[in-house]
């Protein structure tokens, strides 16, 4: 199968991915990433300015830049950053694959029409990529392997034509090709120096002479063999990690990384028109197990400023048990956004919040047990005729729980006669009165119930007036003892 003539593939190679990402956190310090053999694998811009190069031994690097920060290579972190970049590039390209290690493969030909041409498309994509401040090389190619090879070698040819690309490919030396050392050695032994030499040999002779691996690689390069790619799918959850260069001792130090990550969360939600019901912040410590802070939202929220405010309110109350070395933000429960109805002509209030946001804020700063909802309960015993609900799993919106003044919870009240009177203040426990006190003002109301569980009561309730002229609710037990149970405020 012949390869297509148009360069439909674009490969973005990020040579210093991890180092650049870490240097975003800490712009002043030079950073170098070491691989397993303790040689420099990636370095940031500052380190490059000091003369540090890939492949250098770390002692040499330290001599060149004494304040260099050394970090080990972490492949899962590399993958995570690539996945985040793929998620970001998803706005500009529908087919992205993480086929090769340090970059993204994009199939761009299908996007040209949408963006108004190849040049326009590249311009927009380039601007977007540069705003992330990660260094990259971009190369087009007629096959994925061709694009990969060029970008990996450090050439920036996003808009080149097929001939230019072929020309450049032919001029690549053996060292710039992604072949293992033994394969390169076996080719050098035969006197092959450039890729042009390699492609001039017919394929039949290849298989006789060299191992199948180089042949398959060449076929991929020419397009004779088509790869299967696992196309990237944007994740349904939002997960972001932040690796701290220095330990964070005080909760104020957590605000800077949280600001970045919550802003990304807000962008993520906005692109998908979703809102988050709960955000989990997981703080990783060196010795202890991870501590978790969960922000449960009474109303789904999508704005970064609200998230940050709630996180700050919660963190103020929380002392850090141990210094923090990593932070993870997870938002798993996502629902579609709802726009609140607003009045065009009402005077604007810059502090306006709606009911759910107010509840979020109150719950973030005050202890969860301090903010309660009142609710009726269907029980004739006065002290059990209501409930104090602190935090529930379903978001409560005012006025809609069971229709508010409506049906279900009123059944307990409807059976009682209209003249039933209840005090606005109910004492937590009935207070015994020494003797029959005061002037009784109403007919007795006998409440005898509770035989179904252990709270059986039989009380005669009266409205009474005390010597100061205050109305109270008293009751008398069968043993002729008087108790005070409430005040008519």
């Amino acid at each position: 199968m012949a390869s297509p003539n148009l360069p439909v593939w674009l490969y973005l190679h990020f040579p210093h991915l991890q180092a650049d990402q870490l240097s975003l956190q800490n712009p002043q310090a030079p950073i170098a990433i070491l691989d397993q053999s303790k040689r420099v694998w990636q370095h940031c811009r500052l380190a490059q300015a000091s003369g540090i190069q890939t492949g250098m031994v770390f002692t040499t690097a330290l001599q060149l830049a004494p304040e260099l920060q050394l970090q080990p290579q972490r492949s899962n972190e590399q993958q995570q950053i690539l996945a985040q970049m793929a998620d970001y590039c998803y706005q500009w390209c529908a087919r992205i694959a993480l086929s090769f290690e340090q970059g993204l493969l994009l199939e761009v030909a299908t996007m040209w029409r949408l963006f108004g041409g190849r040049a326009n498309y590249w311009q927009q994509l380039q601007q977007a990529l540069q705003s992330r401040q990660l260094r990259f090389h971009a190369a087009a190619g007629t096959t994925p392997m061709a694009a990969y090879v060029l970008a990996r070698a450090g050439y920036d040819l996003p808009l080149a034509s097929t001939q230019q690309l072929n020309q450049q490919l032919q001029q690549l030396t053996l060292q710039q090709l992604p072949l293992s050392a033994s394969q390169q050695q076996s080719l050098t032994d035969v006197g092959i120096k450039q890729l042009a030499d390699l492609t001039n040999i017919p394929m039949a002779q290849w298989r006789r002479r060299f191992s199948g691996e180089i042949a398959t690689w060449l076929e991929r390069l020419n397009g004779d063999k088509v790869d299967d790619h696992c196309w990237f799918e944007p994740p349904a959850q939002f997960v972001r990690n932040w690796h701290c260069l220095h330990e964070i001792n005080h909760s104020n130090g957590l605000l800077f990384p949280l600001q970045h990550m919550l802003k990304e969360l807000s962008h993520y939600l906005r692109r998908r028109q979703l809102a988050a019901c709960a955000v989990e912040l997981i703080l990783q410590h060196r010795e202890q197990t991870d501590s978790q802070i969960s922000l449960r939202l009474a109303q789904p929220e999508h704005q970064a400023s609200e998230f940050l405010l709630l996180a700050r309110l919660r963190l103020q109350q929380l002392p850090l048990p141990e210094p923090v070395i990593g932070i993870q933000v997870v938002a798993a429960e996502l629902v579609s956004q709802q726009q609140p109805a607003t009045d065009l002509f009402a005077a604007t209030n810059s502090h306006a919040l709606d009911g759910g946001q107010l509840l979020n804020r109150l719950r973030s700063r005050l202890a969860p047990s301090d903010v309660k909802h009142l609710a009726l309960a269907a029980d004739p015993r006065p002290e059990r005729a209501f409930q104090l609900v602190t935090e529930s799993d379903t978001p409560i919106t005012a006025g809609t729980q069971n229709g508010g003044r409506g049906d279900v919870q009123d059944n307990g009240r409807d059976h009682i006669q209209d003249s039933a009177n209840r005090p606005v203040w109910l004492l937590p426990k009935p207070v015994p009165l020494p003797n029959q006190p005061w002037e009784l003002k109403s007919a007795p109301e006998r409440i005898a119930c509770g035989w179904w569980d252990d709270g059986a009561i039989q009380r005669d309730y009266f409205v009474a007036v005390d010597q100061h002229g205050q109305l109270c609710w008293v009751f008398r037990t069968p043993a002729n003892q008087w108790f005070l149970h409430g005040w008519f405020g």
């Binding site: 306006a352 509840l359 005012a398 009240r413």
Partner: protein, 242 residues
């Protein structure tokens, strides 16, 4: 046809002519409305100064709260009870006409948290009324009252500060101050120390809602009030009746 003539003829509407809704909120009690020259000042702080619990301080407010609770505006409207002396009893609130699911109760030991919560609730515009008992540990400072007043104006919410009557002598930036004392079980002596729009009047008694049926409704009216009504049951204790 000039612009001015169109305006004069009322055929042109300008956004700056859009007035705010009325500046007072009726309290539901006619004599109290007269005393306050119309009603509670809208979007302002009102102080109720009293001692004790059962003299009817909330019975003055319940009609207004019921009215606010029934108004269904687009965003959800809470009513906040901040550090009350006891738990407001939901069946009583329900009987008075309030929507129980709109009631929020905040109890915190720290006065600063309570003040912050009050300010947030008033500013947000989604809380129609805040009833606050903030003088438990020490008297509320004037600057705090001023701050809460500003917050109430921003959010157009009502604030009722319940304070002990010994702070009557101190000055306060609240828009309206009422000192309450009990006369008898159905009347409260209301002394308006400060009100918007007029000098402080003389103390006057206000009748509040009765909470028990009047004596006419009791079937056996020969009985003097305050005694147990003799019904069809005999005077013997329950155990002996069976």
């Amino acid at each position: 046809m000039s612009l001015q003539s169109l305006l004069n003829a009322g055929r042109l509407w300008r956004a700056t002519n859009h007035q705010r809704v009325q500046q007072v909120l009726s309290s539901g009690i006619a004599t109290l409305d007269q005393l306050l020259l119309g009603g509670w000042p809208k979007g302002q702080a009102t102080e109720l100064l009293y001692d004790g619990q059962g003299l009817g301080e909330l019975r003055l407010l319940l009609p207004t709260l019921a009215q606010l609770s029934q108004q269904q505006i687009a965003s959800s409207q809470w009513q906040l009870w901040l550090a009350p002396p006891f738990v407001p009893y939901p069946p009583a609130l329900h009987d008075a006409g309030l929507n129980v699911s709109q009631q929020l109760l905040v109890q915190s030991n720290d006065v600063k948290q309570q003040l912050w919560a009050a300010e947030q609730a008033l500013q947000s515009g989604s809380c129609s009324a805040v009833m606050a008992w903030l003088d438990s540990t020490q008297p509320l400072a004037s600057k705090d009252i001023r701050r809460l007043q500003v917050a109430a104006e921003q959010g157009q919410s009502q604030l009722w500060l319940m304070r002990p009557s010994n702070v009557a002598a101190q000055s306060s930036p609240a828009a309206c101050r009422l000192k309450l004392s009990a006369i008898d079980e159905q009347q409260i002596q209301v002394h308006c120390i400060k009100r918007r729009g007029g000098w402080a009047p003389q103390p006057m008694p206000i009748q509040v809602t009765a909470v028990y049926p009047s004596t006419d409704e009791i079937t056996n009216s020969n009985q003097p009030t305050g005694q147990i009504i003799q019904g069809p049951w005999s005077g013997k204790p329950l155990a002996q009746q069976a």
